[in-house]
Symmetry: C2
Subunit: 183 residues, 2 copies
DNA sequence: CTCGATGATTACAGTCTCAGATAGTTTCTA
DNA sequence: TAGAAACTATCTGAGACTGTAATCATCGAG
């Protein structure tokens, strides 16, 4: 995540990124909503990734974990659909978490073709840590704002998201997306 | 750009990316600043990319064009440094624009090792189109807001960006970075 | 003029992320 | 029981980007 373009993006889970150099000439006025959103979105994503690093997690892992915590016992496919990644990708994502000892696949007795996904004990501990990190991250982002400003900002962003037809997806890292790379 | 994580990212700016499915369970409250920013940032990036498609441009091309328009006559290296991509990558990016007939490399008489980059006539036309697309995009993003709300949102976002130590970089697509991908 | 540094180009190797095709196992339905 | 369908796993390939190194032309300094 460097700096995205008004459409920069793709990334997601994209993810991983370095830091670009600072600019001199502003091609697009700094008061463009699009630019500010992308810039802050990427900044937030990068910072969140940095905060997760000490836990040994990537953003995608954290997103998956939180998703799973809220939907234990689901099949990989169901979770994949919810998150928006294809089944092929989901295999890999679950593999990662399983190797970390955070989740386990259990055969679903009702349908032995599929696995039911569950958090392990360590997985629950990690989920709590991720939530704590998320709270810290949230606080950092709003650090320069008064509570009233923060509330108003959230309100406006939600209004905007609604207008754009966006729905809460559960969390970041849940999307596969590509990043937009400017380039 | 799907849905990013609080650190979703990476991505992207980029990548990639398709559209995820809608959610059911919100793992992270929809009122999290981090989530809203990433979500809206990626959404904006994706939409911007869609708007550029009819012009035959990728986001990276548009970002480069706008940068170049504001800094004609610079060497590739100078532009690369400004944008934050390495020289190797820059060669490719300029090649793309040159093949599209939008920019041209001219030998710098003062230093014949380097090229001075300039927009072609078609390049200028395209820059205007990109700016128009950007304006439309901007309007779309703010469609659900009153002018006062939009102004306030911009104000709050700028305040936030300042607090986070972010500086205007000129534009999206300007950064190389990785995208943030959620997982 | 010679040498060292620089700018641009090219070729490679390597990383990441993701999609598509395919196959194996199991379940469901007729 | 046979066939269709679902779920998962594996393999292959694409796209975007980084980094290194080698090459060539040119510039600046000594």
């Amino acid at each position: 995540m460097r700096d995205p373009a008004p459409g920069a993006a793709k990334g997601e889970p994209g993810s991983r990124p370095g830091g670009p150099a600072d600019d001199q000439a502003a091609v697009i006025p700094g008061d463009h909503l699009s630019f500010l959103l992308v810039q802050l979105g990427l900044h937030g994503a990068r910072r969140f990734g940095e905060r997760l690093a000490p836990l040994g997690l990537e953003q995608r892992n954290a997103g998956m974990l939180l998703r799973l915590a809220a939907n234990e016992g689901q099949s990989q496919q169901a979770l994949a659909e919810m998150i928006g990644v294809n089944a092929t990708r989901m295999v890999f994502l679950v593999d990662e978490l399983e190797k970390l000892g955070l989740v386990e696949r259990r055969r679903n007795p009702a349908d032995r073709r599929s696995y039911a996904l569950y958090l392990t004990g360590q997985g629950r501990v990690t989920v709590d840590q991720v939530r704590a990190v998320t709270a810290e991250h949230e606080a950092e982002l709003g650090a320069g704002l008064t509570e009233a400003q923060r509330a108003q900002l959230v309100s406006l962003l939600r209004l905007m998201a609604d207008e754009q037809g966006l729905h809460p997806r559960g969390m970041p890292g849940s999307s596969p997306g590509a990043g937009a790379r400017p380039g």
